[in-house]
Symmetry: C2
Subunit: 255 residues, 2 copies
DNA sequence: ACCTGAACACCGTTCAAGT
DNA sequence: ACCTGAACACCGTTCAAGT
């Protein structure tokens, strides 16, 4: 699969780094065997779509490339999905289903800690698959597992002494934070890093160099944190920010 | 901070609702007048790109549509930008320039309050122009005003008793939160609302109806907050979440 | 220096027709 | 029920040529 260049050197977020599951076994899309007629299934369409997204990002998922992979013509895809947008939504939801499954049993501990566990699981999934950032938890109507994940996060807030409005706001804040930061970190890398031809270290080095060359008078903050930037871990940074938000939620629950 | 349990609108965030500026006057792209040769400028290219984005979103900004608007051929655009991606980045940055200008003089008050003022200004800009969500503060290398805005936010944290790492993390958390929540709220609307053919109220009503019909045993949280959802304001919700994050930052600065 | 014309290599989507 | 073939109406990008 693709390697995740940053190690799990987190103190606050101690979950293991995620790795891709293998795509669901394709159900009879025999590659190479010559057939007169291709035959897919929604599962194989989504699994192949996910594989394509993992390999070459959102731009790489074309109806035609997907069809070719499945051994059929472009039009065949439209039997399973209404169009490319729905395909993206459903592909994202198929991954969210796994995320949900992995946190289904979370609960019973400290509600804020459980909230963090769920948030981190979602973050890891998006970092692992940057394309998820733009499509995860987008439409609870079309994405059943977006809804379940939102519900799951919200349920933790119900164990805190908050008003319904406060719970609603806290839940949306956590979801927004996770998606936002993860998406940001995902597409911060300009495609040469994604494809693996430039290492993350080298990319950070170049950015660091550019920052160092800025006028210190005009950019005091940049200069103040350039060393932290040079050696930072996205995951640790996410966890630090999440903990700030969770601290605010905890404080509100105590007031 | 949390003395208002209803999270009432505009007690914390009291800026006025934003409206579009008119696009910068086009510099000699004479519409209707018949000319043998079109003549643009980077400014007019970006202004027209922004107008196109405002009218019909990211998908609506095609090189060909932009060129037609400017009265020339598609190839002429490539004199000013290297491609569509750079066009999007620069168009976003041209708006971020205005955001930066509007908060340039913020400072001197309570650092956390100033942080909030800047964050809200950025949020408003993205809500006003949902396409910004995906392109704002994406590449500080290509987007000079992304960098300045990041610097401006970071400078406020320098007035707090934090370590450099904590300042770096707090700044990134605020930026991530704003972009994430704003982007989420922006593309939560499925294009029929954006175009204005379905009102936001009607859309919320339909979503609310769907949520009410869910099994209360399986979705206790959704049922718990469905009434708040039905009447919520995106902006108030954003402000409530931002205040949770800022409370966490303030708390860390006191520790 | 800046734009045109025309082409290349793609796209998503539709739809009658096949099996 | 599910897929094929072929078309339609687009795309971004390139490049020699013009002015």
């Amino acid at each position: 699969m693709f390697d995740n260049p940053q190690g799990a050197r987190s103190l606050w977020c101690d979950g293991g780094m995620p790795t891709h599951d293998e795509p669901v076994a394709d159900t009879g899309t025999a590659v190479g065997r010559a057939r007169s007629r291709a035959s897919h299934s929604l599962d194989s369409v989504l699994a192949e779509a996910v594989a394509l997204l993992d390999e070459s990002g959102v731009a790489g998922l074309t109806i035609r490339a997907l069809a070719a992979r499945l051994g059929g013509g472009p039009a065949s895809i439209y039997w399973y999905v209404s169009g490319r947008d729905e395909l993206l939504d459903m592909a994202a939801d198929s991954i969210l289903a796994r995320v949900f499954a992995s946190v289904q049993d979370v609960g019973g501990g400290d509600p804020v800690d459980d909230l963090r566990t769920i948030a981190v699981a979602l973050f890891d999934a998006i970092v692992d698959r940057p394309w998820l950032g733009a499509y995860a938890l987008r439409d609870t109507g079309t994405q059943p597992h977006s809804l379940r994940l939102y519900e799951k996060i919200g349920e933790q807030t119900m164990l805190l002494e908050l008003t319904p409005t406060q719970r609603f706001n806290a839940t949306s804040a956590v979801v927004g934070f996770v998606i936002g930061v993860a998406a940001d970190m995902g597409h911060e890398l300009p495609e040469e890093v994604v494809s693996g031809e430039v290492s993350r270290e080298k990319y950070l080095d170049r950015a660091t160099e550019a920052w160092r060359s800025l006028d210190p008078g005009e950019f005091p903050f940049i200069h103040h944190i350039v060393e932290e930037f040079a050696h930072h871990s996205d995951r640790a940074q996410f966890c630090a920010g999440l903990d700030l938000l969770l601290a605010g939620i905890r404080m509100q629950a105590r007031a």
